[in-house]
Symmetry: C2
Subunit: 154 residues, 2 copies
DNA sequence: TTTATAATTGCAAATCATTTGCAATTGGAG
DNA sequence: CTCCAATTGCAAATGATTTGCAATTATAAA
């Protein structure tokens, strides 16, 4: 929701990632990065599409761009179980691994820093003969606002 | 994969659940319960459909039946992030809450008993003003078999 | 700056899992 | 055995996402 770091600082870094893979820095990609930068919570392709500046681009382009940005590690994909992919910009240096608490009423999302105990995860890997194990973890509940206006949606 | 309890013991219990809600015990529903009973891992609607005995039923009926069985608490739905719902029979008494370790190569699924620390979850709820919080947690990695035959799929 | 060309885009049609409307069928209470 | 709400088959509708293809464009090289 807020823009912490300077937006301009993002482009050079992204450019580098793109160039490294012989990809182009296009209008749609630039816009998507800016949009993700100013909304610091997971956004769906449609939400991003709706935020595109005048002229915009085709929705298919948003999908393709997000794929690319994800593949080169600039963006992280999240799945909240509603069959709609959501994307967040990864902070440079950050591996983007964190979790969320989602309101099942109004879909409000809060970042959760707590992670599943790494030791436990290693144990699970060991027990099953897996070399490396990762996880997907999201929390669900009814946010205080929705809990108040009981019955209604935020 | 194995049939632990007596399959016959399942029906009376299911019947009770269904009757309690003025629902009928039909062929398709009986078949689905039996299929889920003998495969003790999460199954997709298509997989269940493919296991239907001769005569079978329409795929739409499988979807509708699974919905119903889920709504009356006989079946639990899981989401492994591939946009295909999977279902497991709940052991009576069990709330069905557990997790899985999924091979990203061959999709083999192993049940994981370890759960996210309840105290930590309560803390997350408290911190955010939520009354009650649940979670969805799945583990991913490459199973030992797939790790060996590197490159190929099980 | 101009050129050459691989990458990108718009558009429409295709996918894929899942849902739904509706008419025909059926389980099971009375 | 009767009756009727619950169920089912079928085909069409959904909704997110993907894809084929021809037209457009970013950009490295000349
Ligand atoms: Mn986040
Ligand atoms: Mn399981
Ligand atoms: Zn809410
Ligand atoms: Zn495997």
């Amino acid at each position: 929701m807020s823009h912490c770091s300077h937006p301009a600082a993002l482009l050079p870094e992204a450019s580098e990632c793109l160039r490294r893979d012989a990809r182009k820095i296009t209008g749609p990609r630039r816009s998507i990065l800016e949009i993700l930068h100013r909304h610091s919570h997971p956004m769906t392709s449609k939400e991003i599409f709706a935020q595109m500046p005048k002229g915009g681009c085709n929705l298919a382009t948003v999908y393709r761009s997000l794929h690319l940005l994800e593949s080169i590690g600039l963006v992280k994909r999240y799945d909240f179980g509603d069959n709609i992919a959501r994307f967040e910009l990864k902070a440079s240096g950050d591996d983007g691994h964190h979790h969320h608490l989602i309101c099942t009423r109004c879909s409000t999302v809060v970042k959760v820093e707590t992670c599943f105990p790494p030791e436990w995860e290693k144990q699970i890997a060991r027990e099953n003969g897996y070399q490396k194990v990762t996880h997907r973890l999201e929390f669900f509940g009814v946010c205080p606002r929705c809990a108040t206006q009981n019955g209604e949606v935020c």
